[in-house]
């Protein structure tokens, strides 16, 4: 064990990569799934061990090829990184058992092994973005995760999945290009690609007299915002989520956008915040304005959707607004709220999309009009769904309440009353779109078309129940979410000017 300990950061990335290669070799669905399951279950152990180590003794640094930074690529895991790694890998581990039957139902036989190969590549990319301390390496992993995501979306049975994947490809590529232009400008200024080194070289003396640094900030903010679907750059998200295979939607909604948010936080608070005084630039104000617009516009659009997955997708855009609102507030309570909502929203949205996947598995459709009375046929599934819905609204006792509570505190710390009312107001809109579904699902008489529907098999039900239970658990015990996020925020804000 002692020999493995110092190599955990690289194992976090290389194990899923080798797993992806193995899945590609095996070519048969069963063995490929076994590889994906084994890798997915190993990942949280590695991430948990690293987070424990970071909390006990400070950041971990790993030098690829033994080249010392800033020349070589450095993998660097701090509290925020360990927190995100644990989230991404845990979500992957919990929902993986669901994949077997759901993917067998929704993806063609010959493509299932490639499906697991692409999932593992996507996992490699997402974990890599969080692990690496190198801005260019982060770009490479961003592309690894994005390219595999396009394939995963395109594997949906519906032919519109191809168009959705292409739309996502165009937007994602623009986002990645903007990001790399920004990194190029930073390289021009500092001659370094190592994130910590860039921050050290930028230093306060740059603040007043470089437009290049403002341009770099603008490019990176827009590029990453495209990836995380910040309103109004979210156009790719509803189609991609609606037409991708159900399991992919659950995985992406819980991890991909969240990792992009991590990257934004990293650049805002670990790099640019060190060099620029954000109080002199309207960056955070713009982020706050867009976040509030996302919370309202996307929620209102969600109310009028007729397809369950599309509705949940628009709800994701709105919920991402809460997270970026926390980033824009940029104080202890606000940013903690944002980070906590990353976890809480990941868990509840994964539960909701898994429930949609379970419904699709049983009745082959997720149109709201076909779901009348499904709650009586699939009681356990829909109970878990309902719990996650309450989390989405932010009912006290669920995890959604905790994140909104911190966001409200963050706004009050700034002396702002308006955002407080807006947070409550947008929650009421969430109550409307959630209530619409719950009314259809529970209160209407079941139609003949769903007479044979029943709860899905245990392998699909268990991940759903675990995630719904987590929504309640993290609403009562905030030590793991708000506690660790608070420590991460303290470190992030400590370096700001």
């Amino acid at each position: 064990m002692n020999a493995v300990w110092p190599h955990l950061p690289i194992l976090q990335v290389v194990v899923p990569l080798i797993g992806a290669v193995l899945a590609g070799f095996l070519r048969r669905a069963g063995p490929a799934f076994a590889v994906a399951l084994a890798v997915s279950w190993l990942m949280p152990l590695i991430a948990g061990a690293m987070l424990w180590q970071v909390l006990a003794s400070g950041p971990i640094s790993y030098h690829i090829g033994s080249w010392p930074p800033p020349w070589g690529i450095e993998y660097r895991v701090d509290v925020l990184g360990g927190f995100m790694l644990l989230l991404v890998s845990t979500v992957g581990a919990v929902i993986m058992p669901f994949a077997r039957r759901s993917v067998a139902f929704e993806v063609e036989d010959g493509q299932q092994a490639w499906f697991y190969c692409m999932y593992l590549l996507c996992l490699t990319g997402l974990l890599g973005i969080v692990t690496t301390g190198d801005a260019f390496n982060a770009f490479v992993f961003l592309e690894v995760s994005s390219l595999s995501t396009y394939v995963l979306v395109a594997l949906g049975r519906d032919r519109r999945a191809l168009l959705a994947a292409f739309q996502y490809l165009i937007m994602g590529t623009i986002g990645a290009t903007f990001y790399i232009i920004g990194v190029g400008l930073l390289y021009l200024l500092t001659g370094s690609l190592n994130m910590a080194d860039i921050a050290a070289r930028l230093g306060p003396e740059w603040a007043g007299h470089s437009r290049a640094i403002v341009a770099a900030l603008a490019f990176i903010t827009v590029g990453v915002s495209l990836k995380l679907a910040l309103f109004p750059l979210h156009a790719w998200l509803p189609n991609a989520y609606a037409y991708a295979p159900s399991w992919v939607t659950a995985f992406l909604s819980a991890t991909a956008t969240k990792v992009a948010i991590y990257l934004l936080v990293r650049f805002f608070f670990s790099i640019f915040g060190v060099a620029i005084d954000f109080r002199e630039l309207p960056v955070t104000d713009i982020v706050i304005a867009l976040s509030i617009a996302a919370m309202f516009v996307a929620s209102v659009i969600a109310v009028f959707q007729t397809d369950l997955k599309r509705m949940l997708a628009y709800s994701s855009v709105a919920q991402i607004g809460y997270i970026t609102l926390g980033i824009g507030l940029a104080n202890q309570a606000g940013l903690t709220g944002g980070l906590v909502h990353i976890v809480n929203h990941a868990l509840m949205k994964a539960a909701l999309f898994l429930a949609a996947g379970a419904i699709f598995f049983r009745i082959g459709t997720v149109r709201l009009s076909d779901l009348a009375g499904i709650g009586r046929k699939m009681p356990l599934t829909m109970t878990a769904f309902t719990v996650a819905c309450f989390g989405l609204v932010g009912t006290p006792g669920t995890s959604g309440f905790i994140s909104k509570w911190f966001l409200v505190l963050g706004a009050l710390d700034k002396g702002w009353w308006v955002p407080v009312f807006l947070i409550v107001g947008s929650s009421l809109i969430a109550l409307v779109y959630v209530g619409r579904v719950l009314e259809v699902v529970w209160l209407r008489e079941p139609s003949a078309a769903i007479a044979n529907a029943s709860d899905p098999p245990l392998s699909m039900l268990l991940p759903l129940v675990v995630l719904a239970a987590a929504t309640i658990y993290f609403g009562l015990d905030t030590q793991w979410t708000a506690g660790i996020a608070g420590t991460a925020v303290k470190n992030l804000l400590g370096g700001l000017r």
Binding site: I10, V14, G65, S66
Partner: protein, 138 residues
């Protein structure tokens, strides 16, 4: 369907030289421009040229689809495996210095293996892409 005699004979004459040039670009990558990416594309071009001038069936016989598709993950495995070898020998990932007795030789060997992995994956990917396109109409 018959293929043009001049093209067929000409292709067969030129193919060995194209492959040789691919290997030259691969191994000369240590000293000058070149390396696995370029060499992989050049190597794949032999199969593509063969398929265009002598027909897809012959290309399939020489480079079967199953082999080509396995080459894609195989190259990545060689690359990642070289990195893991460094781990197993007690150093960091992709630290080549432990691969041979002398660190300099270790670096040479490590880069050789990594570039070989790149060659295999790139050649496999280019050929797979070509096969995927030409088989759409069949």
């Amino acid at each position: 369907m018959s293929y043009d005699l001049v093209l067929r004979v000409g292709t067969k004459l030129i193919l060995p030289f194209i492959l040789l040039f691919a290997l030259y670009v691969q191994f000369h990558g240590d000293y000058g421009p070149g390396g696995g990416f370029q060499a992989g594309v050049i190597a794949a071009s032999t199969v593509i040229l063969l398929a265009i001038t002598c027909g897809l069936d012959l290309a399939h016989r020489i480079a079967p689809q199953a082999v080509v598709q396995s080459m894609v993950p195989l190259g990545v495995l060689i690359y990642a495996g070289t990195g893991v070898a460094g781990l197993l020998l007690g150093k960091n990932y992709l630290d080549y210095s432990v691969l041979a007795h002398d660190p300099a030789h270790g670096h040479e060997l490590g880069i050789f293996l990594v570039e070989a992995g790149v060659l295999i994956t790139v050649a496999g990917t280019m050929t797979s892409l070509f096969y995927a396109f030409v088989e759409r109409g069949r």
